[in-house]
Symmetry: C2
Subunit: 246 residues, 2 copies
């Protein structure tokens, strides 16, 4: 198609990197790319913490479930939903700060951060770097906030580890068939036949990748992963940070 | 740099399109690109509604504040945080559905949807199409859900209008200076000198783009836009949809 679409479609998550820092030039390109993303009403409601300090990476890695690829990597970025700058500005301008605690503004900050992160991910992959999102930092947001010295009106959302890949994935992981994700004009109930076919496809995919050790359909994976509550401290943390309150 | 980074850095929002539908091939590329994004634990917790029906577009446009570029466009996509498929699977597998109502799973769905959307945006721009995010659909999520026939465990997040641009923007809108977005290892408090410089830069930007009609700094824009609460029905809507409850 073109280099952009090829890069996007060629994505796979990398979980083993050379222990080699990114150059300053690459870092600058990645941050600039993140910032070029759309932002709701130009609020730019996110921050990016670039964690080069190995001790801090180690601490975050323990929280995320001891993932070595958050320590041995080119750079570990933590994306933060951030309304703290706006809070400072509103106070300075003598404006009411209560809007910052609404679900709407919380949503704006999360979406702004995610759009920026995905721009960074695509830019990184175009530079032959590999990436992996690290949702595991949400295992203990309170602790992450403490380590990164995050102020009120912020929340750490996820990490993005970016580095020189030490592995290459050969088979792309098949996504849901288009008809299960894409709806024409109005929402369509789940097509169970298409889902069953997809379940078989995913079983086959894991079978091939693990030499028969893992045989699990997508539905089984979902039932296993989403069948239990986790990270129930998020709500209290958001309250403490004055976010998502009304 | 390369075509990917050039595309990302060349982004600007388009608000006037030729009234010409996207081809099936382009649509397929955009959807495939969206689906190639990272997804938390492979849950793929989003749906995309492609609204080609002009009457439905008109209805959504009224909600979003009468934006003609949601009607006259190549395609209007609505990105939906979607745990309804997972609900159906959990019920079928006899698993507990309560985890779907946690803040954590809500966050996963929002981030999944945003990453997919940004992939679509970049892919579209690489095909010489223009894009604009439409947060305005959150002016009345209840009504949008009714129009699009959304089931429980879903929420419409934003629109993405994609089409053949009828205008071209010459000056890129300057983002916050890197030091205000990017932090080294730990969060840094706002640098007020850098902020003042940026405020001047944005004033100048608006002055040039509006031939002197609009003179507003970023801080002033933030104080004006974030100084009042809006969309206070989101919380009740999420509750009704069994999302973000604990």
């Amino acid at each position: 198609m073109n280099q952009v679409v090829d890069t996007i479609l060629g994505h796979y998550s990398v979980r083993k990197f050379a222990d080699k820092a990114l150059t300053e030039e690459t870092l600058a390109t990645l941050i600039k790319s993140a910032q070029a993303a759309s932002t709701s009403s130009f609020v730019q409601a996110y921050s990016i913490i670039g964690v080069s300090d190995k001790q801090i990476r180690e601490k975050l890695s323990v929280i995320a479930g001891n993932q070595p690829y958050t320590v041995e990597t080119g750079q570990l970025f933590i994306f933060v939903a951030d309304l703290a700058r706006h809070h400072a500005i509103l106070e300075k301008e003598g404006s009411d700060v209560s809007a910052l605690s609404t679900s709407e503004k919380w949503l704006v900050a999360v979406i702004d951060a995610a759009l920026a992160a995905q721009n960074m991910a695509i830019a990184a992959e175009s530079l032959d770097l590999g990436i992996c999102y690290i949702g595991g930092i949400r295992n203990d947001v309170e602790k992450v906030a403490e380590i990164l010295e995050l102020p009120p009106y912020t929340m750490p959302l996820f990490g993005l580890t970016v580095g020189h890949p030490d592995t290459k994935q050969e088979i792309a992981k098949p996504r849901l068939p288009q008809e299960l994700i894409y709806h024409q004009n109005t929402y369509q109930q789940i097509n169970t036949v298409a889902l069953e076919e997809y379940d078989d496809q995913i079983k086959q995919y894991y079978h091939e990748r693990t030499a028969g050790k893992r045989v699990e359909s997508w539905s089984e994976q979902i039932a296993r992963g989403l069948g239990r509550e986790n990270r129930l401290d998020l709500k209290a943390f958001l309250e403490k940070q004055h976010l998502n309150q009304k």
